[in-house]
């Protein structure tokens, strides 16, 4: 007999089978994924999805009897008062008593299972790819940094951790009953007092002094034996090299916050931002978000304010771009960060601002960014061409720039797909 512990064996032995299964029902899953982005609220897009697949696609047919034909015999337990020859009306469900012989062919109409978050997102972003991804990957591989990793028993003196060392020293001193310094001082003071001749009884005094002297000697001995700081107490800070996030990205969300952007338009924009964030998250270990909203002035705000705060005023896009440039300069050095930007707007901009906006984009921002996407959100189809749309037309040729219009939540995903399709360059 032998007992083997297999718990350490790799768990997901059926992972390969599951992938084969998913591949088989991909078209159906795609539909589910599409429905999910249309119907689900944006916030839980990050979770998994329950997928229901009709049996046909994944049925495993076998030769089986037609339940409605022929006659069957069953022997079943628990007779109460039936006698031989009794007739029982069949339950109207159709399939008789449903026991015994009838083989369970493919009784399942729909097959339901869970897609994990990763699988869901994989399908969600399938055949999408980040443009210019390669640019900074290579560079950042080398960067490593030291980070604290607990304590070590040895190390160089400058790494000595005084707090940890003293903690151990104190514990050891208490445990080994090392006399405290003030106890020694007290004894010495008493000895001093006993020694000063104050009058009669010499013999007694010297007796007391002798006892104290002996005590002091013992105390000193003990203090020597149990040192205040022993090598075993010493603790040093330990550092380990950890690779810096090999690829890190910052995503700038720029949005027009003027009154013309209604809640529903903001919601459209939000969906796009969320998609972009999810997408970036899959490619970079850490993605930072910067929200910049603007009217005629721009400011960096938090997410809540970004999506729900209201402001009134005109629209000066360049103000937002200036804020973005400043933030990049201050916090996100180009050599360390992959920079993505998405701008959502209803297309308004003051005419006098257009030249400045285009110049900022063309001269500085587009070269700093990996990708700059402009999303124009609108309520309905119209022949009206907005200021930004027509202005941005000249940027089309820039490899880092893309633009699209979105009118309806259902279009978000297709538009997103279009912007990031892996064959974008080709098409």
């Amino acid at each position: 007999m032998q007992v083997i512990d297999r718990r350490q064996n790799p768990k997901s032995k059926s992972l390969g089978n599951r992938q084969r299964f998913l591949r088989r029902i991909k078209s159906q899953i795609r539909k589910t994924v599409k429905d999910a982005i249309e119907n689900r609220s944006v916030s839980d897009l990050d979770s998994g999805e329950k997928v229901s697949v009709t049996a046909n696609e994944i049925g495993e047919p076998t030769f089986g009897f037609d339940a409605a034909q022929g006659s069957r015999n069953y022997v079943i337990p628990g007779n109460h008062d039936y006698r031989r020859g009794d007739r029982i009306r069949k339950p109207s469900g159709g399939s008789g008593s449903g026991s015994g012989g009838s083989p369970d062919g493919d009784g399942e109409d729909a097959f339901v299972f869970m897609l994990s978050r990763d699988e869901f997102l994989n399908l969600f972003f399938e055949d999408l790819q980040l443009p210019n991804l390669a640019k900074r990957k290579l560079k950042s591989v080398a960067s490593e940094k030291w980070s604290r990793a607990g304590y070590a028993n040895d190390g160089s003196p400058q790494r000595l951790n005084k707090y940890q060392t003293m903690r151990r020293s104190l514990a050891r001193r208490i445990a080994l009953k090392r006399p405290r310094l003030h106890e020694l001082n007290r004894l010495e003071a008493e000895f001093e007092a006993a020694q000063t001749p104050t009058g009669s009884d010499d013999g007694n005094q010297s007796e007391e002094a002798k006892r104290l002297a002996r005590l002091i000697e013992e105390t000193r001995e003990r203090m020597r034996a149990v040192p205040f700081l022993d090598p075993v107490d010493l603790r040093y800070n330990r550092f380990e090299q950890t690779p810096k996030p090999a690829t890190q990205a910052v995503m700038f969300c720029l949005m027009d916050a003027s009154a013309s952007m209604t809640e529903s338009l903001k919601d459209l924009a939000k969906r796009f931002f969320i998609l972009l964030h999810l997408f970036l998250n899959r490619h970079y270990r850490s993605v930072e978000l910067v929200f910049i909203r603007h009217t005629y002035t721009a400011a960096e705000v938090d997410e809540e304010t970004f999506f729900h705060g209201r402001e009134t005023g005109g629209t000066v896009v360049s103000s937002a771009l200036e804020v973005m440039l400043r933030i990049i300069r201050e916090r996100y050095p180009v050599q360390d960060w992959n920079i993505y930007a998405a701008q959502a707007s209803d297309g308004h901009n003051f005419d006098h601002d257009m030249p400045r906006t285009i110049e900022l984009l063309q001269r500085e921002i587009l070269d700093l960014c990996q990708y700059y996407a402009y999303i124009e959100v609108g309520e309905e189809e119209s022949s009206y061409v907005s200021a930004l749309w027509s202005g941005y037309a000249q940027l089309e040729s820039h490899p880092h720039f893309a633009r699209a219009t979105v009118l309806d939540p259902t279009e978000i995903y297709p538009v997103f797909h279009k912007l990031f399709a892996s064959n974008r360059q080709a098409s």
Partner: protein, 510 residues
């Protein structure tokens, strides 16, 4: 009664405990009960790994196929939602006998599992005639490993899709991929020569010149044609019930690797065939053994009352048989019926009543119930076991009754109940219920034209008017046609009247 020390206390287990419990159980199983088992190998796994194993026919090593992924997805969802709990154990008919136990089990559960799987199932696997005849226990794991490697190589070489299509088709025919009769021993050429010689000498010895004077029968074209066709059929060994084997041997368009894939699936199906035929006995045997062993462990003071109560709780859950009108009723529970029949045999051996003397004269009052059971476990399968050992006492106790459900009648009719006139009828019908050859459709290859239009004809012999479900039948036929490469026809013929009921036809996709 010898009082020994407790093997364990509480619910925590470790590897030492497993070993000690195994040794204590082995002593009871081998010395007291006379079981004969393969060497045991107990493997501890996590619940995730159990789910994995579940999905792939309960085998630890299985080739890759999407259907296992599907099964896994389903099991995992049910398990996570709490709709279904995992089996405590999984055991593989191999030498050494591999039993999987889940790490979450309590020590009492592990004890139960060791008694149940490592001795109950193990003994049954080693001794039952079906397993001895059909499976090479020492080769099972190697075969599985080979299959896994082979399929993986095929996927690499011929593409996942092509392999998947072949496997899909093969899986569809899995229950038509078993040989129900003992394998035919190939004739040694030496024997064939001897046989021919003895026939010749017989002819010479009985030669009578008078026969020569008889007019020869006319050999017209028709009979020649017939004769040739018969010759072809004989060469293909038709009719052939094992569709998978027939296709892997004779399908004209299959590539060699596809034939091998069919063989792999056929062998897998064949491996499970004895298990399907003996589920009732196998589970009954294992349940009886664990019950006996746990009681002995308790009697000898090796497990305490707390463990015994925990065990009884689980045991009762396993052998519960809800009545037919109960919401939980899912047909006869093989654990319950198997265990009840074996307890009943014990009762008949130890304290028979006059009725038992009449029904079971050979075993009534014999006393040595383990001997009787060991023989039964070795020489019967579910169908014959029920036919031989279902007693009137048990029929009354379980209040079994027979019902007939005819599709052309609005009523179910009760045809036998637990009374004098019904015992034999119930026993007979219950036995039939466990007869796999009656449960699966009887489909054979009856005609295969390898020279002309290359059409393959399958025949389904319809019993009791139970025809095939047409939707699945068409889809399976498409699979058959794809394997065969040409047109395939399936005729449903009534077994009694010979009348053709249905005719299906499928062509291969280019």
């Amino acid at each position: 009664m010898d009082n020994r020390t407790l093997l364990y206390e509480g619910s925590e287990w470790d590897f030492n405990h497993l070993r000690r419990v195994h040794d204590a159980i082995e002593e009871i199983a081998i010395d007291e009960m006379g079981l004969n088992v393969y060497r045991n190998q107990i493997e501890v796994i996590t619940s995730d790994q159990m789910l994995d194993a579940y999905a792939a026919f309960g085998m630890p090593l299985m080739y890759s196929h999407w259907s296992f992924g599907k099964r896994y997805s389903r099991e995992a969802l049910l398990y996570r939602k709490g709709a279904q709990s995992l089996a405590y154990e999984l055991v593989i008919n191999s030498d050494p006998c591999v039993a999987y136990v889940i790490e979450e089990n309590s020590m009492t559960m592990q004890t139960l599992v060791i008694a149940h799987a490592c001795f109950g199932h193990n003994h049954f696997f080693k001794n039952n005639y079906l397993f001895r005849q059909w499976t090479d226990a020492d080769r099972v794991l190697d075969d599985l490993a080979y299959a896994k490697r082979f399929i993986a190589e095929c996927e690499e070489r011929y593409g996942m899709q092509a392999v998947e299509r072949t496997l899909d088709a093969a899986h569809a025919l899995m229950s038509q991929g078993v040989s129900r009769y003992a394998p035919q021993r190939p004739v040694r050429s030496q024997d064939a020569v001897l046989k021919a010689e003895s026939r010749k000498s017989h002819h010479e010895a009985t030669y009578n010149d008078l026969w020569r004077t008889l007019p020869k029968p006319k050999q017209d074209a028709d009979t020649e044609d017939n004769a040739e066709r018969e010759f072809d059929a004989a060469a293909l060994r038709l009719p052939e019930e094992n569709l998978l084997r027939f296709l892997s041997l004779h399908a004209p368009k299959l590539k060699d690797w596809q034939r091998e894939v069919l063989d792999i699936v056929r062998k897998t199906a064949q491996y499970f065939y004895p298990q399907q035929q003996t589920q009732l006995m196998n589970e009954g045997c294992a349940t009886f053994v664990h019950y006996q062993i746990m009681n002995r462990l308790h009697q000898t003071g090796q497990v305490n009352e707390a463990a015994m109560l925990e065990f009884l709780h689980m045991h009762t859950a396993v052998v519960t048989q809800p009545d037919f009108d109960d919401k939980r009723f899912r047909g006869l529970n093989p654990y319950a019926l198997g265990f009840a029949m074996m307890k009943d045999i014990q009762r008949i051996c130890q304290s028979p009543e006059p009725e038992d003397e009449a029904w079971f004269p050979e075993i009534a009052g014999r006393g040595d119930f383990m001997g009787v059971l060991r023989d039964a476990w070795a020489d019967f399968r579910d169908e014959s076991f029920v036919l031989q050992f279902l007693s009137p006492h048990l029929i009354r106790k379980m209040r079994l009754f027979a019902v007939r459900d005819a599709s052309d009648s609005p009523h179910l009719s009760v045809e036998a109940i637990h009374d004098e006139s019904g015992y034999r009828e119930i026993r007979h019908r219950l036995a039939q219920q466990y007869d796999l050859s009656k449960r699966d459709p009887e489909i054979e290859v009856t005609e295969a034209d390898l020279k002309g239009n290359r059409r393959l004809v399958l025949t389904h012999r319809v019993r009791d008017g139970k025809t095939l479900s047409s939707s699945t039948c068409n889809r399976v036929l498409r699979h058959v046609a794809n394997l065969w490469g040409y047109r395939v026809r399936l005729i449903e013929v009534d077994a009694g009247t010979g009348q053709t009921l249905n005719d299906y036809d499928a062509v291969a996709l280019p």
